[in-house]
Symmetry: C2
Subunit: 253 residues, 2 copies
Amino acid sequence: YARIVAIANQKGGVGKSTTAINLGAYLAMEGKRVLVVDLDPQSNATSGLGIGPGVGDLQIYDVLVNEVSLEEIIVRTSTEGLDLAPSSLRLAGAEVELVSLYSREGRLKKSLEPVRDRYDIILVDCPPSLGLLTVNALAAADEVMIPIQCEYYALEGLVLLLRTIEKIRVYLNPDLRIGGILLTMHDARTNISKQVMEEVRKQYPNETFVTVIPRNVRLSEAPSYGQPISQYDPQSRGAQAYQDLAKEVISHG
Amino acid sequence: YARIVAIANQKGGVGKSTTAINLGAYLAMEGKRVLVVDLDPQSNATSGLGIGPGVGDLQIYDVLVNEVSLEEIIVRTSTEGLDLAPSSLRLAGAEVELVSLYSREGRLKKSLEPVRDRYDIILVDCPPSLGLLTVNALAAADEVMIPIQCEYYALEGLVLLLRTIEKIRVYLNPDLRIGGILLTMHDARTNISKQVMEEVRKQYPNETFVTVIPRNVRLSEAPSYGQPISQYDPQSRGAQAYQDLAKEVISHG
Ligand SMILES: Nc1ncnc2c1ncn2[C@@H]1O[C@H](COP(=O)(O)OP(=O)(O)OP(=O)(O)O)[C@@H](O)[C@H]1O
Ligand SMILES: Nc1ncnc2c1ncn2[C@@H]1O[C@H](COP(=O)(O)OP(=O)(O)OP(=O)(O)O)[C@@H](O)[C@H]1O
Ligand SMILES: [Mg+2]
Ligand SMILES: [Mg+2]
């Protein structure tokens, strides 16, 4: 029975998609059966895993709005044991269209039920907002993983996100917990990175992952080849960090 | 009569707020009367300009939802000639609340009318989504400035944004034009930066600003002091680039 992890933060560009792709790949390499659900209309997780925009293909939009089953859209990726429920630009219309549908916040949760016994872990990549797509992910999830950049603005956004999680817990998903705060794009040469890291560990000592993801250009090159870092450059510091994270996530299990 | 520029891109973390703050500061130093409108619930432009979250203060949420006039919320910043219409976390509720209000897409445009003759240029900092807050900005704007990172995912998001702009032009704002595409966080040491820059200049030769903003850690340090780069480190490469951009924006005028 799969553990569902929403990778969420309304602050943009913090490494949500990069984490979904690369954590997913290393969890699969550790022998876990993994599904990545791309819930962002920008579909960066989809293209980063090498899945092209198949023009006629069904995708997550059809599952949420047209009641197509999730099984019909799931595709394999180049990593053994890592599957994907792809997104595309069409999903951009879903935020508005979902507003008037029955159980608008619970549609993802319902669509995941039939496939939960086929996976060990399901990672949901969220868009940078707290709209109905991210709410669907939070309503379906057992836990939230919160990537934050080692930058000044990182801490401000966290307050907003934690408040939203609290509301979701009250109204939609009482079991939702914080799986962990993941520090990303850490640059040991800059003071700002040190300051943010210290501040986060001080304010959220129990929730912050031990693993820190360094800023590493190989991570931003990999998506242009449609490969996770485990294939593009497994010796890179970015790859090592995501491998460590996978082990840490499994041990938290 | 002010020129209204929406700084928008639903891709997160591309430098929208950093551009609003620092372009705003250098336009003011060139003698322009400038207003920055912070339309993001994360309120990064507000804190980056050193404006604290005044608990009881009115802010942009009250203008959009409670019909408070914009004049009542405008504050001065530490840069002469640069004013701010601040945001706060309360704005997070506006996306949903606006849905059922009259003229939900036109409320910002209406609120800007009474102050347009007091400024030469109004910069609107948008959140990383294409919801009602960004739509309000696009409906009010004369032009859109699109910051994009020199990263692989940058180009994918552009298609979605350009489609949205086209729809806004048809239904809400026929005069909306593309003011320019701004390349940000350019790192001359990496191939990916070179590739993205070449690709963007090839696909959008006439719309891309000559000025390119380099990746410069001083730009990410400045907000923690609540200062634009023009005050924090005017000799930095980041400061020089935003000064050049201000001159280019004025000459496009
Ligand atoms: N550790 C890292 N080192 C260097 N570059 C990184 C790292 N992590 C992510 N990137 C790059 O930074 C950019 C932002 O990352 P990503 O797209 O994963 O963030 P996101 O939170 O998913 O963004 P959005 O909010 O738009 O969904 C991408 O171009 C990505 O390739
Ligand atoms: N040229 C630059 N060099 C280095 N760091 C930068 C640069 N521009 C912005 N930053 C930093 O990168 C991060 C993202 O920038 P910023 O917050 O301005 O982007 P944004 O598009 O407004 O993000 P969001 O989508 O969340 O609104 C911030 O921490 C900022 O300080
Ligand atoms: Mg993403
Ligand atoms: Mg911003």
